[in-house]
């Protein structure tokens, strides 16, 4: 070792001289790893750059893959912010120890406590509701009540829902495990799965189309997909959307299941202050309105004005369970779904 060290050192110094100009920490920029796709975040980031002069760099990808990248890059990771489209991934990032807590009174006042981590490691930035959609010509709203009631044999062969690989199905079950316990949830899953009209496949819009065309009577989907179809350029999507209606489940008890898209600041963040400023910007009224306008997601505060489509669905009671719980029970949910045979 005594002989090898100097030679290794000299090689390294040469390498450094060659590569040195490539490396610089641009401290006046913010770098984001985002599971939220480009078209649904970049316009906001551009607005932020316009207003503050701070450049924002973006890589988008799947939440777990980005988290793996962040973890393996460690303290040298260029990322300042991790943005995901569900609470489970943020919870996982928190568990992996790649996020840091920020004590921001401003964020804490902007974002209700059930939509952020209790130790300030991450914050919810938009709300996505999992709702029931039904065929207007076959189902009356008064036949519907709760997610739990969807296990009732009266719906045998009438329900469409996508695969259990979908994160929002997982978080729905996860939330149910928290509120009902695993035993009740497993029993519910058995009944629910046996009510499927067809093996789960396709995306949420496909389920809505299946309801519209009569293949099934009800579907469980994220509300923004229905909004997207109502506002679509594609005539056939508009037509399908017009044949169905939205129902808010569990209004008499715990409220409709919701998940969030949200963000946390990484431990490796080079510029804490700018990163925090950006998250505050994303939580501010203008950005909140934009989520509703652009992607039919709900704002994190009820005081924010929403788009006409969202308004037409009326106000609803949302589950106030802390969204961290969705992450905590995610793998228990998957295992229960596997056992129930939800493909």
């Amino acid at each position: 070792m005594a002989i090898r060290t100097p030679s290794l050192k000299s090689i390294l110094s040469t390498v450094l001289i060659v590569l040195a100009p490539l490396y610089s920490v641009a401290s006046d920029e913010v770098n984001i790893y985002s599971a939220r796709q480009e078209s649904l975040i970049k316009p906001l980031l551009e607005r932020f750059t316009e207003q503050t002069g701070t450049k924002v760099n973006l890589v988008t990808g799947k939440g777990d893959a980005l988290l793996t990248r962040l973890k393996s890059e460690g303290m040298n990771s260029p990322a300042d912010i991790l943005l995901t489209v569900d609470a489970g991934r943020l919870y996982r990032a928190q568990e992996a120890g790649v996020l840091q807590a920020i004590a921001s009174d401003e964020l804490n006042s902007l974002i209700p406590s059930h939509l952020r981590s209790s130790d300030n490691q991450w914050y919810g930035l938009s709300v996505r509701a999992r709702v029931i959609v039904y065929g207007k010509d076959r189902v009356q709203a008064n036949q519907l009540s709760t997610y739990e009631a969807l296990a009732d044999p009266q719906w045998r062969g009438k329900i469409c829902v996508r695969s259990s690989g979908n994160i929002y199905n997982q978080s729905l079950v996860s939330g149910m495990i928290t509120s009902q316990g695993i035993i009740k949830t497993e029993a519910w899953l058995k009944g629910f799965v046996s009510n499927f009209a067809r093996p789960p496949a396709g995306g949420d819009r496909d389920q809505i189309k299946a309801v519209a065309s009569g293949q099934c009577d009800i579907a469980v989907v994220n509300s923004y997909y229905l909004g997207g179809m109502i506002l679509s350029d594609d005539q056939s999507q508009q037509t399908a959307a017009s044949k169905v209606a939205l129902f808010w489940p569990n209004q008499q008890d715990r409220g409709t299941h919701i998940n969030i898209s949200g963000a946390g600041i990484t431990k490796s963040a080079k510029n804490l202050k700018l990163a925090e400023e950006l998250i505050v910007f994303l939580a501010a009224n203008d950005s909140q309105e934009w989520y509703a306008e652009r992607n039919n997601e709900f704002p994190v505060r009820e005081t924010v004005k929403v788009s006409s489509v969202l308004e037409s669905w009326g106000p609803f009671v949302a589950d106030t369970l802390n969204v961290s719980e969705l992450g905590r029970n995610n793998s228990a949910a998957i295992m229960a779904m596997d056992r129930a045979g939800w493909k």
Partner: protein, 557 residues
């Protein structure tokens, strides 16, 4: 053709002169194998309780579905690819020339995109079934219609876009087969189809195997199509275990078993033909194509056009219809950047893959012993591994290396380097190399095995160095195979998604990324334009290169 039972006898005499080559071979394969080894290393870690859960519930499903998928796609690509190759290489009928390049078109179509288009057309709520219901006043359940989103549907989709691998390689093999043997067969009174099954197919076996195994590896790695169709395959299982259960180690272990399975298949195939050598004589005369007449010609034409219609025309038209709705909105300044990024990445990666493939294929041929063959086989496993997993296999060791360099540099020079390699385009190209090497290697290999070792021996005995034999004899003969390899990887990289997604630098997008993001949000109308652009850019090299591939032997017909 010559079937000789001596296993390449000229190896032993060249052992010493090949030392340099073999050392380089080991270095190159070792570097390329690192991501695979990282995945294999997961087997050393304890097996978590998630395994028990998988055994109890879904693992059987994963395995059965993947095997069925492989069997179906294997058969589908074999039948489609070999028929297409036979028709265009050995027969003559009106439209043959057009078909011979049109058969390649489906290759440019990403599998999950064709899945979306067919679902759009054939789904219960799609135009076809809606029209049927309206015409006959049917309701749901009144009639039978095959469900596109099923295992069978996935087999059809994958077969339609993957058969060109078989077609390309087998076509080259047919064209390079000794005309003398084929004519002898015909002169002995064998009917054309007997010649096909008794002579041409057995001689083309290395090419068929190479093509089908590429298709099967791609099938195993496919995530988009099976996930959309709700088929729980081994690959969806890997991601379910990782994303859903949060068990990256268990997911890597699953993936390691997948790779062991593929490795065993490769070895089994190699062993089964180890005593057979397939060479053609180099002196060639022009072969006369079998001229099809009457109903045979009509049949050839309609079968050929049907394949192209289903694999390309229909899905591409659906894309064009979607794209026509909102293209003005989507055709912004960014779009040009996307085109440029996708094109240049694909070009650079395909050249890199080709260089490495030629080096490996040739070193293997000239000097290989069992150890080298094994090393190359490990290095070419990447194609069967889902891109995301390859990316993780690249990410982890490179980030580790980066952090070590940073640590040493900080301690010694008080100069933090940060991450030097992570998040660069160079790393992305390396990941493509890991993933797609076997595509170019299989292609070059199958071309190279068709050249008799006696040619090498003569040249070597006349004093030519190995590199001279390569550059003066093999490369010119191999021109078709080389161009094919280049084209295949180019199109692959163009379509590549998961690796790009994870490893790319900030603010760097490709057409595939844009397509995927919009499609995953079920905004097909918006996704259609970049998807169509992938197809069109993929066509450019197909058109340019096929001209020289196709006119190889029947130049002035």
């Amino acid at each position: 053709m010559e079937i000789d039972s001596s296993s390449s006898g000229f190896n032993s005499s060249n052992q010493s002169s090949g030392r340099g080559w073999r050392i380089y071979l080991f270095i190159v394969t070792a570097v390329i194998a690192v991501p695979m080894l990282v995945i294999f290393a997961s087997l050393l870690q304890p097996f978590s309780s998630a395994w028990q859960h998988l055994f109890d519930t879904v693992l059987t499903d994963y395995i059965t579905n993947s095997l069925l998928l492989m069997a179906g796609v294997g058969l589908g690509t074999l039948v489609l690819g070999v028929s297409a190759a036979w028709l265009t290489a050995m027969c003559d009928f009106p439209g043959r020339k057009i078909l011979s390049w049109a058969f390649l078109l489906p290759m440019a179509m990403p599998a999950y995109i064709i899945a979306y288009t067919y679902t759009g057309i054939l789904d219960f709520s799609g135009p076809l079934q809606t029209a049927l219901r309206d015409t006959y006043q049917w309701q749901y359940g009144d009639y039978y219609f095959p469900e596109i989103r099923s295992l069978g549907g996935a087999i059809c989709m994958l077969s339609l876009v993957l058969y060109p691998y078989v077609y390309m390689l087998v076509r080259v093999a047919f064209l390079e087969q000794s005309t003398a043997v084929l004519e002898a067969s015909r002169n002995l009174g064998k009917k054309p189809w007997q010649t096909l099954f008794l002579v041409a197919l057995p001689m083309a076996r290395p090419a068929i195997v190479a093509g089908v195994s590429l298709a099967l590896m791609e099938t195993l790695a496919d995530y988009g199509t099976v996930a959309y169709f709700g088929v729980s395959s081994f690959t969806t299982g890997i991601f379910r275990t990782w994303y859903g259960l949060g068990e990256l180690t268990t997911a890597a272990q699953l993936c390691a078993f997948l790779m062991l399975f593929v490795f065993a298949l490769i070895m089994a195939e190699r062993w089964s033909r180890q005593r057979l050598r397939f060479h053609h004589h180099s002196a060639q005369k022009k072969m006369v194509r079998l001229r099809l007449k009457g109903w045979r010609s009509a049949l050839a034409m309609s079968v050929g056009s049907l394949i192209v219609f289903l694999g390309f025309v229909l899905p591409a038209s659906q894309l064009a219809i979607w794209a026509s709705v909102g293209w003005q909105e989507n055709l912004d300044g960014d779009f040009i950047t996307l085109l440029f990024n996708s094109f240049s990445l694909a070009a650079i990666a395909s050249v890199c893959c080709l260089i490495v493939a030629v080096f490996l294929a040739y070193t293997k041929r000239a000097f290989a012993s069992r150890a080298e063959l094994g090393a190359v086989a490990v290095a070419s496993l990447g194609y069967a591994v889902p891109g995301t997993v390859i990316a993780v296999g690249v990410l982890i060791p490179v980030a580790w290396l980066d952090n070590q360099i940073d640590f040493l540099s900080t301690t010694w020079f008080d100069y933090p380097t940060g991450l030097l390699i992570s998040g660069t385009l160079g790393l992305l190209v390396f990941a493509y190399l890991v993933r797609f090497l076997s595509v170019s290697l299989n292609t070059v290999d199958s071309g190279l095995t068709a050249i008799k070792p006696s040619i090498d021996e003569s040249a070597r005995s006349l004093g030519a160095t190995p590199s001279r034999v390569l550059s003066r004899i093999h490369l010119p003969i191999l021109r078709t195979s080389l161009l094919t390899a280049l084209l295949l990887v180019f199109v692959e990289v163009l379509k590549e998604l998961p690796t790009t997604l994870i490893l790319r630098p900030f603010n760097f997008n490709t057409l595939a990324v844009r397509t995927y993001e919009l499609a995953s949000d079920e905004r097909l109308v918006d996704a259609a334009l970049p998807a169509l652009a992938i197809v069109i850019i993929g066509l450019l090299p197909v058109l340019l290169i096929t001209k020289s591939i196709l006119n190889e032997r029947f130049s002035n017909e």
